[in-house]
Symmetry: C2
Subunit: 414 residues, 2 copies
């Protein structure tokens, strides 16, 4: 079963490493997720264990698991992430996400958080975790078996932190990795969630649907960082972007359609109908719309990519092919040739709306290979990607300095 | 640094697998443990992550991490252990231990348990974990992509368990492994700790100091199992036993002395002095005791292996060599030739005081190799060990049936 098969994760990570990509990212859900009557569960296996396997079978690429801040004790979290960081020789990240799903809280026998509890706990968990990471300093030194000296305990000290939700004494029992401590990623947030982004995140895995939205989100994140006493340059904003590749537009669409044919067309056609502001005849899903119908199209103002769907319909693509362009995907993207894919990435990047991308492969095992083998060489020729990894650690890949403990700039701002 | 280097764990597990040993066992402490000024921390790295790496780089040997029942939520525990079991294709165990160390509770910001809380929580954690493991039944079937059918949800059901300390709704999000669920190990316990052994354990990792103690402990464990509605045959009793090997007794002692020379002799000589009931002159630690002194030796009644130490001194071994025989070790064992090691194991096994052993290698990286290459062939020639693994899973190795969920025999006894 592919979804429990670590070989699939390893193969995909090795392909990404071959292309010099900065990191692999593993989302997570802590409950049985998805419609199991028809398809495998989503995010079923445990990201920390999968990425431990991946760490041993790769040598350069970064490893970023999602781990919820809502259930785990900071000591357990700090220790497992530090172990992953040490096992991978400084390639670990942590996508720190507060849970919100009632099913997740039910699995942990906990009530849903009220008011500000969700972010209050997130602040405590991240601060105590980082403090534990910093509780074993580099100055403790390296073991010296000749002198019978292992470490200088003057630089390995308890943290003695007590929050309202969690607490820990420390120190941690594992020394720092080659990069100090894991890189903290967070998803985009709003309102109460913005302050923690500004305080802790070095990477934002975002889901803007358009370039304008990406620009706005990135600016908001930068402002939050500056308000927290950090700088815009502390944060890498890397939105999701999806690709379905083929030697021609037609081949890419057909490849995508094979994948889509596994699932029922009707609900997707109903959704496209809303996006186009037009009634679509299921019997004529393979035919371009009639001229009168095209003239009457009105993109839905609240459904992302509706304008793109209308434009595609006006170009003469059938409803079925408009869907195959990926306009129903929960992220921006492109179904087409490698050159078109590179063009899209270059356009976003040069417009300054992001610092990189989180590539979403389509639902085929070889899709990251296609991106690596066909798109990455174009990006390299255009000078948009380096020829190889610039360093050994995830912090090296992202151009981030070593960090060990809580960022000292925060104390002046809170 | 060897103690954070997963390669060491992998190499050791591969050597053990080469010898057909049933499982590798990883103890754990959830705090910085040991005197770091002089030696590396003990049980520093995270057992679940280490064993994930080992799982990927071995193919037959069982993998048994210690994980505390005092801090982890059952859903998190059930999921990580199930992931290890699936990644290893049915080779996982779980040494379920309640924590007692104040440093551990401080790291989790929790007060020390009062009264029966320690075992009350252990009961709840193990029962809910096993129920979660059983929440996805084999009858849910295998995915059938042709039929567009993934699993029969009639056999994947919530558990809805609410304890006083922990709770979970379920179901778990990962299907069963090749062996159903991980094998539960527990350390020997007394009083309130005996009931859980009888109810849940399939393996007991014990620390008796003598054959008689081993026999007694094993009988007590068997009685507990029978009281819980299970049978003596449900439990494998596998005491620790240590070896220091050499081509001759003298070579084995000298090899051990090189290891011991790293640490100060004085406190060990003081302890031996108590065991022998004799004042020992540090200046004469290398000389056999005088006849008058030997006549006056009285083994300490409360310090294990005192009688053995007295017997060795009477044979004419110097105090330094008596210590090199391992009489200060926290487990029984033998420093000598492979034949002597095999004799000791055969004696214990044929006396029916245990069902196998947990081999403690000495503090050299090649020591498990020595056991595998020199002692295992002797055991095989004597018909005490099979020529190869009898099956694919840890349950196969231990002769245990598949289990999925809580043992149904328990309901009638509680």
């Amino acid at each position: 079963m592919a979804y429990t098969n670590v070989d699939v994760a390893v193969r995909s990570a090795r392909a990404a490493e071959r292309g010099g990509l900065d990191f692999v990212f593993f989302p997570d859900r802590v409950f049985l997720h998805g419609d199991l009557s028809a398809s495998p569960p989503m995010f079923s296996m445990e990201p920390l264990l999968i990425l431990t396997a991946v760490a041993r079978e790769t040598s350069r690429i970064g490893l970023v698991p999602s781990v919820s801040t809502s259930f785990n004790e900071p000591y357990a979290l700090a220790r497992q992430l530090r172990a992953l960081d040490v096992i991978s020789h400084g390639r670990a990240g942590w996508n720190a996400i507060p849970s919100y799903e009632p099913e997740a809280f039910a699995n942990y026998g906990k009530p849903l958080p009220q008011g500000n509890e969700k972010y209050e706990r997130l602040h405590e968990v991240i601060q105590i975790t980082q403090a534990l990471w910093g509780s074993w300093k580099r100055e403790a030194g390296q073991p010296d078996p000749q002198a019978g000296r292992f470490a200088d305990m003057a630089h390995i000290k308890p943290v003695n932190l007590q929050g309202r939700h969690v607490a820990a004494r420390g120190p941690i029992q594992i020394p720092p990795s080659e990069q100090g401590q894991p890189v903290i990623f967070m998803p985009v947030a709003s309102n109460r969630g913005l302050q923690p982004l500004g305080m802790y995140a070095n990477g934002i895995i975002a889901m803007p649907m358009t370039m304008e939205e990406s620009r706005t989100q990135r600016q908001i994140v930068h402002r939050s960082a500056i308000q927290a006493g950090r700088t815009a340059d502390d944060i890498r904003f890397v939105p999701f972007i999806g690709f379905g590749l083929g030697a021609s537009k037609r081949e890419a669409l057909d490849r995508r359609r094979v994948l889509e044919d596994r699932i029922d067309l009707a609900p997707r056609l109903a959704r496209l109908s809303m996006m186009l502001g037009a009634r679509l005849d299921p019997q004529r899903a393979e035919e371009p719309l009639a001229t009168a119908q095209i003239d009457a199209l009105r993109p839905h103002s609240a459904i992302p990519r509706s304008a793109e769907a209308v434009a595609l319909a006006r170009e003469g693509w059938s409803p079925r092919d408009v869907i195959a362009h990926g306009v129903l995907d929960p992220n921006p993207g492109l179904v087409g040739t490698p050159d078109e894919a590179a063009d899209l990435l270059q356009k976003w990047f040069e417009a300054g709306v992001c610092d990189g991308f989180t590539i979403v492969p389509d639902d085929q095992q070889d899709s990251i290979d296609a991106f690596v083998d066909e798109v990455v060489p174009i990006l390299r020729r255009r000078g948009l990607r380096p020829a190889d990894y610039r360093g050994a650690t995830l912090r090296d890949h992202l151009g981030l300095p070593e960090q060990l403990g809580i960022d000292p700039r925060l104390s002046s701002s809170t």
